[in-house]
Symmetry: C2
Subunit: 230 residues, 2 copies
Amino acid sequence: MGNGLIVSGKKSRMRRGRGGMDPANLLATDGKGRKIMHFRRRQLILSQGDPAQYVYYIEQGSVKLSVTSKSGREAVVGLLGAGDFFGERCLADARSNTYSASAATDCRVVRIDNRWMGQMLYRDRVFSDFFTSYLLARKARVEADLVDQLFNSSEKRLARALLVMAGYGKAGKPSEEVLPKVSQEMLASMIGTTRSRVSHFMNKFRKLGYVRYNGGIQVRNSLVNILLHE
Amino acid sequence: MGNGLIVSGKKSRMRRGRGGMDPANLLATDGKGRKIMHFRRRQLILSQGDPAQYVYYIEQGSVKLSVTSKSGREAVVGLLGAGDFFGERCLADARSNTYSASAATDCRVVRIDNRWMGQMLYRDRVFSDFFTSYLLARKARVEADLVDQLFNSSEKRLARALLVMAGYGKAGKPSEEVLPKVSQEMLASMIGTTRSRVSHFMNKFRKLGYVRYNGGIQVRNSLVNILLHE
DNA sequence: ACCCAGGTGTGCAATAGTGGACAGAACTCA
DNA sequence: TGAGTTCTGTCCACTATTGCACACCTGGGT
């Protein structure tokens, strides 16, 4: 995620604000207004409907954001990793959480006080810049997910979800590596379909040699073929 | 859209930055780094794939953001109105536009230079605050659209889209008013379905008395019944 | 070794959604 | 006013997707 906004044409030629620390490093330490916390896989971090007063920042591990409908079905809105924020909505209006968050792997997150974060954003230009960059990138990602949902079949959505998780197209990623544990159930609720459908396509992909099961799911680059096919 | 972030517990007790102007007013004027432009209904404002170097701010009217797939199908990612920004992705990375924007009604928009906007964000806390608020709100909206798409049927998605457009649930909205022109085609590509489906449901809604055609579409509050069912 | 919970493969009837096509209504705009 | 264009209502054969059910598999306790 390219940090730093474009400022007078040069990226990153800017003095430090009062805080004076690199935001990511700052957040990595305990201190006023922030607290480092650890969660185990499956543990609930925050719950849909609870009053919202903290912003969270992921240091390590991954976190699943999900929404449960009145009818009890669950949809996964995002699977976040190190460097992502969540719960940030409470900066703009103080209502309750619109989703639940739970640890998808053991993880370390920083729980940041609402107010402290507001002050940082106001005072520290570097911090504010860091956060704005994040918001822009993340918003773009959610938009891409929406578009995907709007015009792809579930088969393609599954293929795309797998590729994105495998870091396809990212620089410095060996790709072809084994994914962290994700159940078919979870994949299903990420792409808005049923588990039997996911199972069906996973087998199809396997038969075609696009993925392998090596203790976990191993996505091969050739899986993009599914997306290209008209 | 509740402007102003939460800062040390008080919303909006903050001195003006260098710019010294209310952001919305500032943008309403021509000046360095920004240019006021007018577009007629259906006119193209920016095109998917073009190099991106401007951020746009809508003064008046509404703008449609859409993406066209390789196969030529169009999906509408958002229908924006006064007070919304678009094209802001170029603040974080200078690639090309990921969507097209065209005027859904005659409209007045401010075309803002990339760099100037970056400077404003860096220098003017009030401006930066204004923009961050916007991003937070808009991101939440896109997430809500994604969730809707993930677990509602096309009938419900249509109902929801209509209600949102009619400003259902917003304070100070008389609601029950007639919507600006939207074709079934457009509704279809907003909610990811076909026009024949939209036509079908619109008639159903009409028969049930949930909407009326009074020169345009008039949404009655009772349309929420569609969402509550099940 | 045994059990158990969570995860997976498979099949199937019932539904929902697609992608055309076509005719008529409703709007431009010269 | 009339010709063109854009919208809308409606139909239909196909295809995709759901919602179950049930057997099996696998890893971790105990």
